[in-house]
Amino acid sequence: MQSLHFKNDTLLEIATFLVRRWSEKQKVIVGIVDQQEIQTKLKENKVIMFPLDHFYGTDFQKYRQFRTALWYESMRLKHSNKILSNDHAFGFLLNTLETRRIENRGRREWRGMDEEIIFYYGFAWLYRPLLNSLYGKSRIVEGFFQYFLLGDIKGEVTPSAFKKIKKAAEIANEAVKQAVDNNFGTDWLEKKVSEIIKILEIDPLLTIPISIPKISSGIAVSDNDFIKTIGKITKFHESDFGELNPKRIAEGKSVIEEFKVLLQETKKNENRGLSTESIGISIPSSTNVDETRIYDEDLISNLKAKFKEWKTGWREQHVNTGEEFDEETYMEGSHKPFFTDQKISIKTRIVILLDHSSSIANEELQYKKATLALCEVLSFLKVKFSVYAFNTEQKQVTCWLVKPENIKWNNLAAKRLAQIKANGGTPLAEVYSIMFSGLRSKKPDIFLTLTDGEPSDPDAVRSMVTTFKLLGIRMVAIGVGPDTASATIIANNLKRLGYENTLAVSRLNDIPNRVLNVLGRN
């Protein structure tokens, strides 16, 4: 489960980037969830995809379908103002018409998608159900879908049903053309759906089953058969897409490089042994999480501006000897007339442990915003850091890995942080002992614990702190309290537990500053 999740990391990173650029909406969230249908929620700015292995064909073909599906959802986000549920006829038909409309609109800007769209249709053709395998009126709706989007029907229907399908497809094509030519939106097209429903003679609330292919997804199609299918689709769309080469489409050379990167990254992650970092440490694995709510852009940019000098990397310093002579300083009588640039870098490796016990529940969001800002700045300053958090789930303490040291901080790490619920007590010693084996081998320079209360096991904590100190790790704790007085009390209590350095914070937004100052002193 965990290794699969990390394999999805790069995929999710690229997918999120692409959706945001394609849809021109900067805050869209992409999730990969094991479900039957791809879903886009306009109001929530969310696209929920299913994992790659739900698509068909070889791994590369699966990736190409994933990418094109993602493009379609981005176009929906950009050009649609309504997405209805696919499980009744009205919604299914509107979404089908919209698919063509947004595809047309999207292709004006994204001309490079043409071959990928045809490829996608090719697979749709292979894996749509045979009409004679469907029962009742949903057969005619599926027939309409196939005829309208793919140019033909699979299997058989009665001549009268076929006539209806043909007529409905004609009306639909005309409607989409008008909508595209006149820049009409979803609402205009929605009015045309009733007309199509009338022609197909169906109930608008007719239940439409989710299309599940009859061929198992593991069976690959022969190259020749696939090229033939694509040839057929290309012919059907020729008036729209112009002349395309089916063989070239099947090869998909334009996206192969991107796929190779995905493979390489997955391999890299596997080599780093991420999936089994340490026994007892879990990785938050849900991707269907809105991490944007814990981003406080103002706080992040303020901090970045404040610590900018650390980022520029070079500081001018005057020295006794050197190659560059500064006559001005010399004339002023300085003993250090040479100047040199000194690299400012923070070489300290830091491990951060975030308390997620129930006492922070009231201010959980603010706490997460502050800690996320800290991570953003650390990553901006290129500090080597890892982030852990702990809470209690089902009466058992869980230590979560939010960001390992060797993986860069990104929105996926933020997703992991966002989903950890503040719950339970503060069994610090237990958490320390879970982390001990991992840290013994990695030996960070600083181990920083952010906590808002007294640990439930102070004696055990004292002994664990001593153990870590013996390894040469500097133990620092920051007490977080609702006001100065309680923050100071917490910090004082922590001091008695043997930490080398304890600090108090009452304003959550001060957390990043405090941590960075600890690093700066080192």
């Binding site: 990173e13 945001r20 650029r21 334009s254 996206v255 490089e257 990167v261 940019s301 070079w314």
Partner: protein
């Protein structure tokens, strides 16, 4: 003369500069790199028929570059004027490019000359008092703080430039016109796509999803490369995508994929 024909004043910057010039108020131009700040100033100076003295600030710019330094020639001590003193005396326009890259001591010295008295005591040369001529005019530019090597300007320096012009990337149509001034071929369709691509990347960089934001220089370079016969897809890769590979394969591939979906193969 060349600069004159290259700048398109799409947000009426000249009007503001003229008004500031007439009222003797110094101007600060704020905007990301490659938005045409320098071209604007150059053309303004040409229009006013004034000499332009420019300093491009960096960590290495020292007081002596601005004010001047003592020289020793054939046994006698002389003084070579720096660009600030020269422009104050010569009635020219002083252009302080990327002033927020300057060190604090350099800014202090500038502050002295920029205040209402417009004068400078040359402690480097027997305490001579330099009084700026009547038509002396100063324009400074700063890059937004997100740029590496930039610092926040101290408030007293900011207040010396009460007229502020914001120069952003121009709208697509204007950017197209600007690029066309530099090229001879006709590739409007491809150029518009490249501008759209640049805007997408600028947007992504502004929310820090990418580490680099392409400037007008890149879109102009794209036009020039097209002129030389390179195919649009390849040109986009050379100009816009390759730079991102320094931040790893994934960063490069993200951008390359946007290019693929835009230009195809």
């Amino acid at each position: 003369m060349l600069a004159e024909s290259l700048y398109i004043d799409w947000n009426n910057s000249f009007e503001v500069l003229n008004k500031a010039f007439d009222t003797d108020l110094f101007v600060l131009i704020i905007g990301p790199k490659g938005t045409g700040k320098t071209t604007l100033v150059r053309e303004f100076a040409a229009k006013k028929d004034k000499k332009l003295e420019s300093v491009n600030f960096s960590l290495r710019t020292r007081e002596s570059h601005l004010v001047g330094s003592k020289t020793l020639e054939s046994g006698s001590i002389g003084f070579e004027q720096g660009i600030l003193v020269k422009s104050m005396k010569e009635d020219s326009i002083l252009y302080l490019d990327e002033i927020n890259a300057a060190e604090a001591d350099v800014l202090l010295r500038l502050d002295e000359a920029l205040d209402d008295r417009r004068q400078l005591v040359l402690k480097e040369s027997s305490g001579e008092l330099i009084q700026a001529s009547k038509g002396w005019f100063v324009i400074a530019t700063i890059n937004p703080l997100t740029h590496v090597g930039t610092k926040e300007l101290p408030p007293q320096i900011l207040s010396r430039f009460p007229v502020r012009i914001r120069l952003e990337y121009p709208p697509e149509e204007i950017e197209l016109q600007i690029i066309k001034k530099y090229i001879s071929g006709s590739h409007d369709k491809e150029l518009l796509q490249a501008i759209k691509l640049a805007n997408i990347l600028r947007q992504a960089a502004s929310v820090e999803e990418l580490y680099y934001s392409p400037s007008l220089r890149e879109t102009i370079a794209f036009g020039k490369i097209l002129d030389s016969g390179v195919k649009p897809r390849h040109a986009a890769e050379i100009i816009f995508a390759n730079i991102y590979s320094q931040w790893g394969n994934v960063e490069y591939q993200k951008v390359n994929d946007i290019i693929t979906s835009m230009f195809g193969n």
